[in-house]
Symmetry: D2
Amino acid sequence: MTFSLGPNQYGKAGVRLVTVQRDGDRHSITDLTIASALSGDLEGTHYTGDNSAVLATDTQKNTVYAFAREFGVGEPEAFGLRLGQHFVATQAPIHRARITIEQHRWERIVVDGQPAPHSFARSGGEIRRAQVEVTEDGVAVSSGLGDLTVLNSTASEFHGFPRDKYTTLPETRERILATSVDAWWDHDSAEVEWGKAYEEASGALLTAFASTYSYSLQQTLFAMGSHVLRTVPSIAEVRLSLPNKHHNLVDLAPFGLDNPDQVYVAPTEPYGLIQGTVRRDGATYTEGPALW
Amino acid sequence: MTFSLGPNQYGKAGVRLVTVQRDGDRHSITDLTIASALSGDLEGTHYTGDNSAVLATDTQKNTVYAFAREFGVGEPEAFGLRLGQHFVATQAPIHRARITIEQHRWERIVVDGQPAPHSFARSGGEIRRAQVEVTEDGVAVSSGLGDLTVLNSTASEFHGFPRDKYTTLPETRERILATSVDAWWDHDSAEVEWGKAYEEASGALLTAFASTYSYSLQQTLFAMGSHVLRTVPSIAEVRLSLPNKHHNLVDLAPFGLDNPDQVYVAPTEPYGLIQGTVRRDGATYTEGPALW
Amino acid sequence: MTFSLGPNQYGKAGVRLVTVQRDGDRHSITDLTIASALSGDLEGTHYTGDNSAVLATDTQKNTVYAFAREFGVGEPEAFGLRLGQHFVATQAPIHRARITIEQHRWERIVVDGQPAPHSFARSGGEIRRAQVEVTEDGVAVSSGLGDLTVLNSTASEFHGFPRDKYTTLPETRERILATSVDAWWDHDSAEVEWGKAYEEASGALLTAFASTYSYSLQQTLFAMGSHVLRTVPSIAEVRLSLPNKHHNLVDLAPFGLDNPDQVYVAPTEPYGLIQGTVRRDGATYTEGPALW
Amino acid sequence: MTFSLGPNQYGKAGVRLVTVQRDGDRHSITDLTIASALSGDLEGTHYTGDNSAVLATDTQKNTVYAFAREFGVGEPEAFGLRLGQHFVATQAPIHRARITIEQHRWERIVVDGQPAPHSFARSGGEIRRAQVEVTEDGVAVSSGLGDLTVLNSTASEFHGFPRDKYTTLPETRERILATSVDAWWDHDSAEVEWGKAYEEASGALLTAFASTYSYSLQQTLFAMGSHVLRTVPSIAEVRLSLPNKHHNLVDLAPFGLDNPDQVYVAPTEPYGLIQGTVRRDGATYTEGPALW
């Protein structure tokens, strides 16, 4: 009986990079967490510990820091492309490089009504993401975000679902709809204004969430994905993973009180989990990172 | 040999309360995590399991939800006072109630340049806190915040420290200074405009952080605490716990590159931890929750 | 321009189930976190909010608790099969059910040298996992584990890797090798003694980790996966994701001390990340959950 | 109006130290996370940034690693004493050093029924802790643990509690009692066999938890603390913080099923929180770290 190596990759993760851009007294900062993952002719190290094809993960990390100085960082998609292309171009046994970047966002502190020149507060919530895949045949770029928690306090119903022996949930015409958006979208090109595209895509997610009168979180998901595609022409597909963060109306009757949609408990678990893909019909692209 | 009961308290923690205030089509929301802790004549339950003095923690939780409907929530300090006073007033064996509240902040989603009427995104980072202690003799109110991460990209030096056998750190005239602010401040009164005081105190922390040319994080800490006291007259004492989130300049010389204060690595650990108290001289108050 | 729905699924996650089996005074407990995810003819709810095909996630949760009483839980793979088959069999629009289960392990507390009849301490670390996918055509069962942290204090080398412009890592003949095992393995059958297979597979991972003299974590990964296949005939493929939890020898020379492989710092990040698949040649099966 | 500095301390936290003890081919390992906190004449750095009294936190970290080589680590209490005494003895402005240590426990991997000589798996759950406070007047040593999760599947009742307007909880004669033990205990001496005392104290906690027929978690808390004092003569006081990790019997009646204490849901929150102190009457000692 024999065993063989299937799909594999290796790299460095958790590479924390902060850069300061100094334009005189006025600074800006970039704060990234980067992972690289390489694959290729790697049977040797798996079968016998022959490391002649294994660019050390420490070297991959060093390359991140050196490139930040040599070329600057810029948009995460562009930085990822540069890194990925370097690994594939310079390491003969490496046939694919995946670079995944999370960008932590900071805003300028305001002092006496004026934005401070070199002081920043970390923006909470939303994390921007990019993933780049480089092979000898080409590149694929995806962008996305995580940890964007949103809530509609009305304009959400849920009814018309099937009732079996185990169904106790009442139908409702009025509920809170809340979720934490986890999203990836794939571009059909690597020639995109990444910063602009990100702002438009993330804005479209927010706008569609706020503007959709919802009969199910699935419907909201499709509306959000569609609005991203409608807003940013370079995006071919959007994948969304949306936990349904339940807000349950508290029964106050035992205390002689009504509760006209005012007081809710928000349990951590269990939670619904709605995951879906929205595609531009006819688009050509390479599918990026999976969400489930 | 005998053993006896020392200081103790009990209550319910992790009580998640979300309320919707509906002003026609325009809603606002409040999102709190609440803990109550009662103490008093509780020897019975500890020594023999006699629960006649033990208001159930489930009842404490119910009271939170009922009060949110009966009286509204308002500012967390005021809600905590109402809850604490109720427990001490109605439960003869209970001599002290501590109510601790974390407020999760949300901002209105903007659609087409207009704030949406009932759609919200959770503001990241900063958590607002309040702790109220009610006894038969009176009340003590503290406010605070956590998870406010800030960074100065210059205007920070560190030198003049002693060098012993184990000292290798070079002196520096230029470094990034970053921290995550964890703070409590104690009021000398329970008659305060809580919302206004919070905005002023948290604003003072930010302003002082951004405005202080720093020779040590301790100096920045004292400047931050002093500015809170200077800005909000009702505050008698500020306690701050400030991790020194190191940003280390990367040595790029092995790659033939200089690094003129541009490329940094930001490790999770180890981290400095600077903790201190700033007091208004002559103030009278009851000290609130400890940070260390 | 038109957009359409791509791959999707929905369900309930974070369903916490604890059961007590009472055999007279001697109890045993089972502690699971369960997620169900259904897919099928779900265009309606996405396009128009028509929920007639959407078995409520609340109903899915109820089914978990009811089945635990009606049929008992038993091994997580078997419980997952029962749940998945129920959803596909009873809901005409549902064509695939995925049930994912994490089992939290407990051991009996020992009192005076005797295992207590109904007292347990949670075993740390290792989480057992199962995932079952049921379609109208058949079933696929995968098992796995997470959070199993292991360390070899010697018998690990790393050298012979390529040196480019960005390589500074020295070669080493002696290092600590540590990782936290995250694994899935796919069975070629649904007729397996699940408990026995799990014990054998997890034991094989430990044995191979401890017994492999390692020239790379990739080599250790392949040895671990191969040993699982060698030990459990029903397993067709093993996928492993192994962070290289670096332990760096501390340079004590500035303090006049040597460090003959004794004192290490164990940073949280960055970390290597080695991910690979080991397959039984010629095996027939359905590939289960992805690890990357 | 003037402001002044109140209580303060500073140091390094998150110092990760792993040591390998090599006894021929048979190794053992020690895995600690260490924090040091110094206080003393530190007005200068707070008021003006004068760092002449500030032993750098980087130096504190270096000292940890150097001492691990020079003296070995041994029991965490002993290592903490050595570190604390060094800082107070060598730094004139420093009048108090607090060293806090968490020990992560590992067990030997068993291969073919034999414990492996240099392969280890991290034991989950329980974290051992020590805190040492050194001043010019003497030392105080506390030990403790965290993350020890335990459960009794019966032998727990809760009734006889007061019922007010907000009480809905039914009385119960049969419930699951589960908690995660967070404990500190203070020694009346620094001349203790630390390893033995820890094993005895942690064993006493487990034994008392398992052996107490409980009418309230407070009663169990007092029994646990008392049994530690009874078992280890050098311990003067025990402080325990015990979340009541509720396990709620699921109502299966809607599905036509009974539930004779078999099927439970274990929500993350809210949770009861029971905190108390058990003291040896007449003991003399210095109180250690607070738990609430």
